[in-house]
C-alpha cells in the first residue's frame, strides 16, 4: 500500500488547482479515494463514526456480484460447447466464457466511467463510485451475444439520461443498470430476445430459447429437450442473461449483502413475497401451462432472483421509509410476475416492474410520511 501512496503523492502537486494538469483532478481524486479512505471527518453536529463510506459499501455489492459473474462465465462456455455437442472440462468452459464476457465488462466500465468523469470535471464534483456497481450489473443482465457497440450506446444513454441529468450519483430516479437493459430491449429487440441471442456462437439446430420463452410458447420450462427440474433451475446451467441464471450464486451474493447490511432485507423479502402471491393467484385461475407453473418456481427462473437481490434493493432508487420498503418490494414482485405471465411480448417482466416501482418510490415515501404525521397528530390530540 505504501507503494501506491507514494505514486499518488507524487502525482498530487500536478493536479492541484492552478497546476498544469488540473483538468485531471477528478480522475486523481477518484483513484486516491478508491485506494485510501479519505482523511476528512465530519466536524460539526451529530454524526456516526465509521470507516465505511460510499466507496467501501459499493465495493461490497461488487464482491457480492462475483459468484454470479464467475458462474455466468462458466455457463457461457458450457452453453456454447453443449450446443455444439462437445464435452469440455470446467476450466475450458470458463476460459471461453471469460473471453466472451470480459469485453462487455470493459466496454460498460469504460463508457460509463468516461461519461461520469467528464460530467464530474465539468461540474467541479469529485467522481462518484456509483458506477462501480452499475458497470458490473450491466454485463450480468444482458445476453452474452449483445454487440459491444449496443452496450456502449445503451450505457451512455442510461448514464446521461438516467443519472447525470438528475445530478449524478445518489440523485437518480431510476436504476441506471435497469435503464440500460430497458434501452437495449426497446431499441434493439432482435438482439435482446428470441432463441438465438442467449448462447454465444451456438449450433443452428440447438434451441437456445430460455425457459421463460418456452413457457411463453405454451411449453413446460424446457431446456435441451428435457424438463428443467427445480434443482437444475437452482444451479442455473441453462440459457439466459449472463448473471441471472444461477439462483445459488445469487443467494451467496444475497448473503453477503444482508450480512454487511448494504441491502435492505425488507425490500428483498417483500419482493419475493409479492412474486409468490401473484404466482399463487395465477395458479388459482390457471388456464395455460404458464399460469400453472408453481409459484415458487417463478422465483428460480429468469431475472427474478437477480432483480430481488441486486436491483430492487438499490438504496438510491428504493423507498427510504421502513413501511415504504414493504409496499415497494411487494408491488415490485407482484407486477414482475404479472407482466411476465400475462404479456407474451415481455418475457422479462422483472425489468419493467422494477423501473415502474422506481418511479413510484418517492410517491410511496410521501404517503408513508404523511400518514405517520397524521397518526401522531391524532395521538397528540387524544393526550391533550
Amino acid at each position: 500500500m505504501k507503494f501506491i501512496r507514494n505514486i499518488l503523492d507524487s502525482v498530487k502537486p500536478h493536479v492541484q488547482k492552478g497546476a498544469k494538469f488540473h483538468a485531471f483532478n477528478s480522475m486523481y481524486d477518484a483513484a486516491d479515494t478508491l485506494f485510501f479512505v479519505p482523511n476528512t471527518v465530519t466536524k460539526t453536529g451529530s454524526h456516526i463514526r465509521d470507516g465505511v463510506d460510499m466507496k467501501r459499501s459499493m465495493f461490497v455489492v461488487v464482491i457480492a456480484l462475483v459468484p454470479a459473474l464467475l458462474f455466468g462465465m462458466w455457463n457461457t462456455g458450457q452453453m456454447h460447447f453443449q450446443s455444439l455437442g462437445q464435452e469440455v472440462d470446467i476450466m475450458d468452459a470458463f476460459l471461453y466464457g471469460l473471453l466472451k464476457v470480459l469485453p462487455i465488462i470493459i466496454v460498460s466500465y469504460a463508457v460509463g466511467l468516461g461519461i461520469e468523469i467528464v460530467f464530474a470535471q465539468g461540474r467541479g464534483h469529485e467522481v462518484n463510485e456509483g458506477f462501480f456497481v452499475s458497470g458490473m450489473l450491466i454485463p450480468l443482465i444482458v445476453p452474452v451475444s449483445t454487440p459491444l457497440w449496443m452496450v456502449a450506446v445503451a450505457v451512455a444513454f442510461a448514464v446521461i439520461f438516467g443519472k447525470e441529468v438528475f445530478g449524478g450519483t445518489g440523485m437518480n430516479i431510476v436504476n441506471p443498470a435497469i435503464l440500460t437493459r430497458a434501452f437495449l430491449f426497446f431499441a434493439y429487440p432482435q438482439s435482446m430476445s428470441g432463441d438465438s441471442v442467449w448462447i454465444a456462437e451456438k449450433a443452428d439446430a440447438f434451441s437456445g430459447a430460455t425457459p421463460l420463452a418456452e413457457l411463453t410458447a405454451g411449453n413446460a420450462p424446457l431446456f435441451a429437450g428435457a424438463n428443467l427440474s427445480p434443482m437444475e433451475m437452482m444451479i442455473g446451467a441453462y440459457p439466459g442473461s449472463i448473471g441471472e441464471t444461477s439462483t445459488i450464486a445469487i443467494i451467496i451474493g444475497a448473503a453477503i449483502l444482508l450480512y454487511t447490511g448494504v441491502a435492505s432485507w425488507k425490500v428483498m423479502l417483500s419482493f419475493i413475497g409479492g412474486g409468490l402471491v401473484m404466482g399463487l393467484i395465477f395458479n388459482l385461475f390457471a388456464v395455460n401451462a404458464y399460469m400453472e407453473l408453481p409459484a415458487w418456481e417463478h422465483l428460480l427462473l429468469g431475472g427474478f432472483a437477480f432483480g430481488a437481490v441486486f436491483m430492487i434493493t438499490d438504496p438510491v432508487t428504493a423507498t427510504q421509509t421502513e413501511m415504504g420498503k414493504w409496499i415497494y418490494g411487494f408491488f415490485g414482485g407482484l407486477i414482475a410476475i404479472l407482466v411476465r405471465v400475462v404479456n407474451p411480448a415481455y418475457p422479462e417482466g422483472v425489468m419493467l416492474a422494477i423501473l415502474f416501482m422506481n418511479i413510484f418510490a418517492p410517491l410511496i415515501d410521501f404517503y408513508v410520511v404523511e400518514s405517520n404525521i397524521k397518526k401522531r397528530l391524532k395521538r397528540a390530540k387524544v393526550a391533550a
Binding site: 454487440p147 450506446v153 439520461f161 432482435q190
Partner: protein
C-alpha cells in the same frame, strides 16, 4: 389631434423584430412555454410530416392572430373563447382541405393531428396572450415567430428520430449499407414516442445551460 401627431412605428422596429426572434429561443413555445408537446411527440417520427405540420401550424397561427387582432375590440370578453375557437376551426379546416388536395400522402400520415391543431395549446395561448391586446401587424409577426419556434423544434426532433430510427431522411436512405453489413442496427426506441420526449428534453437542457436566465429558481 394628439393621436395624429404620434409617430408611426416602422414596420420592422427593434420591438417588432423581437416578436419574430424571441420565440425561436428564449420564448420558444415548446421548450420554455411548454405548449404543444403532444403534437411534437406524435408527428416527429419522420421529417416530412413534421415539416408539413410545422407549416400548417404556422399558417393557422399567423392568420388566426391577424383575424383575432382585427376583431379584438368587437369581441365581447365573455364569449371570446368561443369566437377564438370558431376562427381556429375555420382555418384548420381550410388547411386540412388544402393538404388533402395537394399532399394527400402526408395528410394521411398526419391523420387526426391536423384536425387536432384546433386543440393545440400554442394557438389558444397566443390568441389570449397576444392577439387580444395588439394590433394586426405585431400579431402577424408574433404568429410567424411562434410558428417558426414550434417548427424548428419539431424538425430538429424529427431529423434525429428519422436518422437514427429509420436510417433515412425524407425517406432517402442515409446510413450507408456498409454500416448495416458491419452490424449496425436501427434504433427501435427512437421510433417510439418516449424518445421524442428525451429529444425535447435534451434541447431544453442545452438551451438552459447556455442561457442561465431560463433556469427556474
Amino acid at each position: 389631434m394628439s393621436v395624429d401627431k404620434q409617430e408611426r412605428e416602422p414596420l420592422f422596429s427593434p420591438k417588432n423584430i423581437k416578436l419574430l426572434t424571441n420565440p425561436l429561443n428564449k420564448d420558444n413555445p415548446i421548450t420554455t412555454q411548454v405548449l404543444g408537446i403532444c403534437s411534437a411527440l406524435a408527428v416527429t417520427v419522420k421529417l416530412e410530416p413534421a415539416i408539413v405540420m410545422s407549416l400548417s401550424v404556422m399558417v393557422v397561427l399567423s392568420a388566426g392572430n391577424v383575424i383575432i387582432s382585427l376583431l379584438r375590440n368587437s369581441i365581447p370578453s365573455r364569449i371570446r373563447i368561443i369566437v377564438q375557437l370558431v376562427v381556429i376551426a375555420a382555418l384548420v379546416i381550410l388547411v386540412d382541405q388544402v393538404l388533402k388536395a395537394y399532399a394527400y400522402e402526408v395528410s394521411k400520415q398526419l391523420s387526426v393531428f391536423v384536425g387536432l391543431i384546433i386543440t393545440n395549446c400554442i394557438i389558444m395561448g397566443r390568441f389570449e396572450a397576444f392577439a387580444m391586446g395588439n394590433k394586426p401587424w405585431p400579431a402577424l409577426l408574433d404568429g410567424i415567430g411562434n410558428g417558426i419556434g414550434y417548427g424548428w423544434i419539431l424538425i430538429a426532433v424529427a431529423f434525429f428520430r428519422e436518422l437514427f430510427g429509420s436510417g433515412t431522411l425524407f425517406g432517402l436512405t442515409i446510413i450507408p449499407q456498409g454500416f448495416y453489413d458491419f452490424g449496425y442496427v436501427n434504433n427501435g426506441l427512437v421510433i417510439l414516442p418516449p424518445m421524442a420526449l428525451f429529444a425535447v428534453g435534451a434541447i431544453i437542457w442545452i438551451q438552459r445551460s447556455r442561457d442561465k436566465e431560463l433556469i427556474e429558481s
